[in-house]
C-alpha cells in the first residue's frame, strides 16, 4: 500500500513539474515554462530589443528597470527604487510564478497596451538570464 502511495506521489510531482503553469520556482524553470507555452525557442536578442524599446506609449521596460537591469532602477513617476531585475544580480527575481505573471500583466499593459505573449516573456527572461557578473 505504502509503495503504491509513493509511486502515485512521485507521478503527481512529475506531472506538476511538466506543466508550464506549475510552481516553477527557479528562473530557469519559468523560462522553460514560457518557452513551452510559446512552442518555440526563446531569443535573447529579441528580448533585449523588446525591453529597451518604446511600443507606442510613454514608457519602455527600461524606463523603470534601466537598459541593463543589473543595477537598481527607479520608478519613472514616483522615483521609488526598484531592485535589479537580472536574476544573477537579484536572486529572488523570477522565483514566484504568481508574482512574475502579475508584473508581466501590469507592465506589459503599461508599455505595450496589451498582455505580452508567452514568446515575448520567454525572450525577455532569456535575455535577463544572459546578464551575468
Amino acid at each position: 500500500m505504502e509503495k503504491l502511495y509513493l509511486i502515485a506521489a512521485a507521478a503527481a510531482v512529475a506531472l506538476l513539474s511538466l506543466s508550464p503553469a506549475a510552481h516553477a520556482v527557479t528562473s530557469a524553470g519559468q523560462l522553460a515554462g514560457y518557452t513551452a507555452q510559446a512552442g518555440a525557442p526563446a531569443k535573447a536578442e529579441r528580448g533585449q530589443q523588446l525591453f529597451t524599446t518604446k511600443h507606442g506609449k510613454e514608457w519602455s521596460c527600461s524606463s523603470c528597470h534601466t537598459a541593463v537591469p543589473t543595477i537598481e532602477g527607479k520608478h519613472a513617476s514616483t522615483g521609488k527604487v526598484i531592485g535589479a531585475l537580472a536574476p544573477a544580480f537579484n536572486p529572488e527575481r523570477f522565483t514566484d510564478t504568481a508574482k512574475t505573471e502579475k508584473w508581466f500583466r501590469r507592465n506589459c499593459n503599461d508599455v505595450m497596451g496589451r498582455e505580452c505573449t508567452p514568446g515575448e516573456k520567454s525572450d525577455v527572461l532569456a535575455w535577463l538570464l544572459t546578464l551575468k557578473r
Partner: protein
Amino acid sequence: MALLAAGTVAAAQADSGGTRVANTPKYEQECAACHMAFPPGMLPAGSWQHLMGSLNKHYGTDASLDDVTQRELSAWLKANAGTYKRVSEESPQDRITKSAWFLRKHREGEVPTDVWKRASVGSPSNCVACHINAAKGSFSEREIRLPK
C-alpha cells in the same frame, strides 16, 4: 481573514492627534512596490473605494490585483480609513496630496515653494523625501529633514 485581524492599532500619536493602524504585510507587499504604503487613515473610505475599484487605471498605470487580494485589501482599507484628523470629504482625484489638510500643512509659509522643485523630492507624494520615518507611518514634526 487572519491578515485583516492582524492590523493592530498603535498608540495615539502626538502629531496627528489620531490613532494609527500598522500596515499589514500584504498591504506593504502589494501597495508599496512603486510608492510608499500610504496610511489608510489619510483618505476617507470613499476614496479608497474609488482607488481599489480602478486599479488598472491607477494614476496612469496598471496596478491591478487578483480578485481575492483586491477584496482583502479593500476591506482592510475601508476598516481603517479616515482616522487621520479632518479627513472627511473625498479629495480631488482621491489624492492625499490634494486634500485640504495636506495643502494646509504644506502651504508656502511652512514649505518653501522651491522645495517641491528639487530633484531629490520629485513629487508631493514622495513623503519619505522629507518625512524620514514616513514609511513606518510616522510624520512627527521632529522627524523632518528637507533634502538639498
